[in-house]
Amino acid sequence: MDRSAEVAPDLADLLRRSGRADEAAFAQLYDATSRRVFGLALRVVRDPAQAEEVTQEAFLEIWRTAGRFDADLGSPLSWLMTITHRKAVDRVRSAEATTRRDTTYHHENQPVDHDSTAEAAQASLEAHRVRGALAALTEVQREAINLAYFGGYTHTEVATMLDLPVGTAKTRIRDGLIRLRDAMGVGQ
């Protein structure tokens, strides 16, 4: 959250001001983070029109709850992306519930794309660093995180998709995230 240009503004300050209904501050916040928010939404829901809706929902939530952001509990970026991710996941799950797809759908049309995290990557230093950290994971950890975080699947679904015993995927996800965290030196 320090070196990439688009998150250079003081996000915590922008959030505080947004919480006081400062629309100009919120516009700055949007400009500083919309690529991250939209990009994650797009990666999870995949449909650009729906990604726009999810982005709009996420920013509305961010605006409504900006005054409740607590810097003691985490970074602004983490908070923003947590909100975005949840909105995106809610979107794919509710879409799934309404279409009630065949239970074997994921075997047919959900490829486990090993290198998907790289596909939309920006050539930024930070992204390079993240990919380096991802490369340090075991293949199963990387796939589990990929399917859970970018795919929006539950750990139970991830276990099925990766042919892991039920209950193991959550451990792989946790181990992998801890390794990722430590490799990137965040959240300590």
Partner: protein
């Protein structure tokens, strides 16, 4: 706690279903270790989003800024635990006794919950459930059942969510499930999720509780229904102005 603790990673990336989320958030409220771990893992996933950044359409910016201009930001959460009793305490609710299957749930009395969570003042990162339970405008409606079971629905207009807390809830009839509903003025009873088959639980209802008139519980075939197929076994009225 070791078992539920293992869910921290999946929870941090939303790779849990609603039931697991409710269970984990209940645990999270009292486990400082898990709170710290979830927060740290979310720092890591937040950075992951650097690899997927993409330029949104320019028109989206205008839409977002136009929309937020019409919405009032919520007040900050102040001193968790010092929850003031709501000025308005709607206690009107009906309990519709269910004919056969779940007669165990026939109610004998109603009362306002004793807020077992009110002394929970630990510096939590507020889970969705906690945000509701600790919201300054949290309003509670409790139902006591004659077999000792108890259900409390807490809703907060400012958070826009409702939470159900149950104690000693008997399991539903075989092949059935308790389903939660929010009564929305515009669309009637809208599913708010399935309750885990567990006697004691805290669960956030899906949907906007700020617009809802009431919450209800019905017994539905396993998997749940799109609309209630039986009379509610319990109704929690949010009051006419909710």
């Amino acid at each position: 706690m070791s078992d539920i603790h293992a869910l921290s990673g999946a929870y941090a990336v939303d790779a849990v279903d609603d039931i697991e989320r409710a269970r984990f958030e209940k645990h999270l409220a009292v486990c400082a270790e898990c709170q710290a771990e979830v927060a740290s893992l979310r720092e890591a996933t937040g950075v992951l989003s650097e690899t997927t950044a993409a330029e949104p359409p320019a028109a989206l910016r205008d839409r977002v800024l136009a929309e937020i201009a019409t919405v009032r930001p919520l007040p900050p959460l102040t001193t968790p635990g010092a929850t003031q009793e709501a000025r308005r305490q709607p206690r009107r609710f009906r309990l519709v006794a269910l004919a056969a299957a779940a007669a165990v749930l026939a109610a004998v009395g109603v009362g306002v919950a004793t807020q077992p969570w009110a002394d929970e003042t630990s510096q939590t990162q507020l889970s969705a459930a906690d945000q509701v339970l600790k919201a300054p405008d949290a309003k509670r409606t409790s139902l006591d059942f004659d077999d000792g079971a108890k259900a409390t629905v807490v809703h907060s207009d400012s958070v826009g969510k409702a939470v159900i807390v149950t104690e000693k809830m008997p399991p539903p009839p075989k092949g059935m499930v308790y389903q939660l509903w929010l009564d929305q003025p515009a669309s009637g009873m809208v599913s708010a999720g399935l309750m885990p088959i567990e006697a004691d639980q805290t669960m956030v209802l899906e949907g906007d509780a700020a617009t809802a008139k009431a919450a209800g519980i019905t017994i539905e075939p396993a998997g749940g229904s799109d609309h209630p197929t039986s009379k509610p076994i319990a109704l929690f009225d949010f009051g006419e102005s909710a």
